[in-house]
Subunit: 180 residues, 2 copies
């Protein structure tokens, strides 16, 4: 029971941390800022997390997990490359729009990670991008996609959909979802 309360408290802290990291940036957010947001003292956060960086790691790697899990699911379930690409994009957009604060941190604040974790993060992101590269290569084999520079194409696709996070407001509904 204490356990259950504890878990949700941890989640609440991560949630607020993501909000502040997005708003002010990781470096400009102090543990005192975060504590004030939670209505507790800064020292109390250290009962749940051992450092400020651990909070950043949690957000970044949880998001990386979500993205990679989605990509694997796509490659497991769907067969046609066009369908795969469509679903991969759809999952990506859903993940972003359902986790806007965490997505901003994943997209912009990850570089504040320090070294062993920073390298790991880059690897996971690369893994995710590779899933898209594979889909494009499949599509080329299936003769439904042109032979393009895959690395560039993947970065273009991702940057375009990541841009959604800059204008999408939850209140503005899933307008674009309908047409997917």
């Amino acid at each position: 029971m204490g356990e259950i309360l504890n878990i949700s408290r941890k989640e609440q802290i991560v949630d607020r941390a993501a909000k502040l990291f997005k708003q002010k940036g990781f470096a400009a957010t102090s543990m005192r800022d975060l504590a004030a947001e939670l209505g507790i003292e800064a020292a109390s956060i250290y009962y749940h997390f051992k450092s400020k960086e651990e909070l950043l790691e949690k957000v970044c790697f949880d998001m990386a997990d979500k993205f990679i899990t989605n990509a694997r699911e796509v490659n497991d379930i769907y067969f046609n490359a066009e369908e795969k690409l469509r679903m991969a994009i759809k999952f990506h957009i859903e993940t972003i729009t359902e986790n806007q604060n965490q997505s901003s941190v994943f997209l912009s604040e990850w570089r504040n990670l320090s070294e062993p974790k920073l390298k790991l993060f880059r690897q996971l992101r690369q893994q995710y991008e590779n899933q898209f590269t594979i889909i494009l290569a499949d599509g080329e084999k299936e003769d439904i996609f042109d032979d393009v520079d895959k690395k560039f194409a993947v970065l273009s696709i991702l940057s375009t959909i990541n841009f959604i996070n800059e204008w999408y407001k939850v209140s503005l509904i899933r307008l674009c979802m309908i047409s997917v």
Copy 2:
């Protein structure tokens, strides 16, 4: 003479500041980091600039100036909306690729500005975006562009070309420039 040396020193400081702000983020860059980069003491920077924020303002507003000047030039010289759009994009890309560090700061670190300047910055950026909106509206009147959501179209265009800053390496030439 001392004046001339002074000016170039100021420019050198701004240049290195932009480099570090891009690399580590504004908040995570200390005046001591910047001083080390310049081979001087932190206190010495305050002979040239009155605060750390002044450095950020210099970078952000110099870039805003460049973008807006470009947009005005386009609207002064060219007549056809398609030509205008093409040139506006070309100037934008040139400005970004020729000032990569400063562009990153302009695109990502501006939110570290504090209040009177932050509002001003947002206004300037809006002014620039409006220039693109006008071009799209002109094109619609000239019957060469479709009737689209202009605000969304402008943000899409800019986010797409701003993405260049994330993969473009100066050493990789002006390959894309050729085709513009």
